[in-house]
Symmetry: C2
Subunit: 474 residues, 2 copies
């Protein structure tokens, strides 16, 4: 059913809920036949090794949308062998619905079960599966026996109509349900059913570093100040948190805080959220995927029906929807690769050219949140890279979209500041002491020689990145 040149869409968001047996069988087939095959792969976000990594290693991916985190795929993208469009995750389902991506030939969807009426119960993520199923010509269902049948009921599946028929999304609180617990599918669309029991390829977190703990502390101090000054309530706003070690550390930091009755309106639910639920700090978490560590998965599955009362999974069009994020007053917390002194953020490219992963949902949340926070360590590569630079080498979040920057050095509250004021605050509060004077020198040079509202110095703006490539340090 999979032929050269096809557009194939799959379930999956993080290494959770993606099909495993079908891509493995495809690679096996290509190996056996020696045929030349390249397909376009559309997913919710990143997936696991059995899909992205395996297909990329064997050179089977022509185009890839809208996000990835695979080593082999990253290599192929940066070598110009895979065409990759790195998109806002809430926009991707709409691209399918609007026909901007053309027709989807086949969808491969992991399911925990098929209901008696013939509908699909998704597994650990929802991603774009409902929209893919709606539009794909044919669907292969991968029933994964490693996923508990108790999965049924944790999902809330809703696809907005296209304009002009689109109506308000009636989520007023993070736990509101607006859809059905399954993905509707016309039985004649099902081209095949595959049974497997390969578990999600979730991974352990890197151990929490002292710098991560200090980032968390700085952020929590800031929240406490906001509460004491009446700009936030004791339960803050619904929280969104990006993925990875820093994000996990920040959430863990909330465990020891005084905040109460927290809720989350986020994308990916990881171990720290389970901890926060267990401790009673978080009363409900709405997300798009469950991506705990291997240990976290065991804990989750052992006690699934209890967690199911506090967790809900939505399609990414809804978990990341501007309408809901803005309405709820979400506080967004995402990680940056580098920030510049004027408050622009690079979250995707190393040295401006080589992509790491992609923007993912960070733009969806940042742009529509009540408060947009970015965290980063102040230095990387043993201090050879300053994560605070004169000018970002790639811009994913503009100065207009960034309220707060936090490093282990401190926090810069940029609200209401002009660019020069932002620069002073970011250098003073966030930059590493080893790079602080050099940043002051750059700003002075910009003020003296360039001038203007945003006094960049065109010749030196990207010189730190050039030096790193030339000499191995900034």
């Amino acid at each position: 059913m999979i032929q050269d040149g096809m557009k194939v869409a799959t379930s999956g968001f993080t290494p959770s809920g993606y099909p495993k047996a079908v891509p493995m069988a495809l690679v096996e087939r290509v190996r056996r036949t020696g045929e030349s095959l390249k397909i376009d792969i559309f997913t919710g976000a990143s997936t696991g090794d059995e899909l992205d990594e395996l297909l990329a290693v064997h050179g089977l991916i022509a185009r890839r949308f809208p996000y990835q985190t695979s080593n082999a795929l990253r290599k192929g993208i940066n070598a110009g062998e895979v065409m990759y469009a790195d998109m806002h995750l809430s926009h991707a389902p709409q691209f399918v619905d609007y026909g901007f991506w053309g027709e989807i030939d086949l969808a491969v969807i992991e399911a925990a079960a098929i209901t008696e009426e013939g509908h699909l119960v998704p597994t650990t993520s929802v991603g774009i599966s409902p929209t893919f199923v709606k539009h794909a010509r044919k669907v292969i269902v991968e029933i994964n026996l490693s996923q508990p049948l108790e999965m049924e009921g944790i999902h809330d599946i809703f696809i907005p109509e296209n304009p002009p028929m689109r109506r308000p999304i009636q989520i007023l609180r993070v736990f509101d349900r607006i859809g059905r617990p399954y993905i509707e599918i016309a039985p004649e669309k099902i081209a095949g059913i595959v049974i497997t029991d390969i578990p999600d390829g979730v991974k352990d977190f890197a151990p929490v570093k002292e710098t991560h703990r200090r980032i968390a502390r700085n952020l929590i101090d800031f929240f406490e100040k906001e509460v004491s000054q009446g700009r936030m309530g004791k339960s803050l706003g619904p929280l969104q948190s990006g993925v990875g070690s820093v994000a996990n550390a920040v959430l863990s930091g909330l465990l020891d805080s005084d905040f109460e009755n927290l809720v989350m309106y986020t994308e990916v639910i990881q171990d720290a959220v389970l901890d926060l639920i267990d401790s009673g700090k978080v009363t409900f978490a709405s997300g798009c995927s469950l991506t705990p560590s291997p240990k976290g998965v065991k804990r989750l599955y052992r006690d699934f029906s209890r967690y199911k009362e506090k967790i809900l999974l939505r399609p990414q069009e809804i978990s990341n929807h501007p309408e809901v994020i803005r309405r709820l007053g979400v506080i967004s917390m995402n990680t940056a690769i580098e920030v510049d002194i004027f408050g622009n953020v690079n979250s995707t490219h190393q040295m401006g050219s080589h992509i790491m992963n992609g923007i993912g949902g960070s733009g969806d949340f940042t742009r529509n949140s009540a408060l947009s926070i970015f965290t980063t360590e102040s230095i990387a590569k043993s201090g050879n890279i300053s994560c605070v630079v004169p000018m970002v080498s790639h811009c994913d979040h503009t100065e207009h979209d960034v309220d707060i920057i936090v490093t282990e050095q401190g926090l810069a509250d940029l609200r209401g500041l002009a660019p020069v004021e932002r620069a002073r605050r970011i250098i003073e509060n966030c930059a590493h002491p080893d790079y602080r004077q050099k940043l002051w020198d750059y700003l002075d040079k910009g003020l003296k020689e360039g001038g203007g509202h945003t006094p960049i110095h065109l010749e030196q703006a990207l010189s730190w990145h050039q030096r790193f490539i030339r000499e191995g340090h900034m």
Copy 2:
């Protein structure tokens, strides 16, 4: 009532509906007393000469939010004398509501009338006036007798509650009304009423150039193709259009098109919209301000009650609201100062450092629209500047937010393309022939020496801007 160091908020959005007599009197007072006075000025967007220009000329502005277009003010900002935060216009009211800007000492609001119940009927713009009136300690009302009393009824005033009480904004069609035709105010807040008859300082448009007509033609050809391929209906989506001569030309181009029953969900309503209404092409236009040319004002006022049936003015929090823009499937059309070959857009800064105006509402619409379009002429300054550059010198709209770029040379449809593919299409279709080969050379150099997903060449990325500053041409 106005003292040194105060935070003063005013009505006004474009040179429409801003207070005139009060700022003039303030300047007169300062002139007379010789006192030293600097205040922070918060408005809806830009205003007219009697406010921004006059206060800036006399050095009375310390801080300015969230947008401006005044020559004197621009000069002060670029000289580092005025602290300016250039913000998304839909975010500004929320900043007041959330207390991020601190307390507003005084609001000065132009009104066409005070209702029998004591409420304010705004004039040619709504801006942030409702929220300013709600939060300011005191309010001065400037009744402007040059504004027709028929103004009453054209406005739809609605302030969203703050989270967690915020509910869906019930605008499902561009003409839906959700509020009241006046701004509610507690009578004890009114500190003074000033009567004036100074008209809005609206200006003539620059004459439509042939290049503008070609931009419009290229865009309309594209719309026709989208309709023929079923990705849009005959009435397109609700249109948003930025301000200025190119925007006006694009809208005028629709007059001779085959599209029908068009509607607008936009910010600023200018002459071309009146033409489209008169011709029957546009059946309804929702905006935040009426800013026709002096001739257009006469035409509008002569026939106000007829236009009032087809036009509605909302607060900028609603006209630019992500929720409504996304729901309605708005097609956004905004102008760029420069674009780069990877699809990033600069709409604010000249040569990266000197601000022109600000991002205004372009980000609100772009980011949440169904289709995000940017227009620019391919060259500026008699060809000494290429508006298609290797890297934008300032980024306001990232590669993730830009679907279509149009110049008089042609149109680049960037949907679903990887950065290298975007570069090829933008150079081929949009760049001016005089700069095309140089852009190909830059891309080749990036591919050979830099490589990666986005093959920038760090040393040469900003070299075109450097050359312009050094030699007066790119």
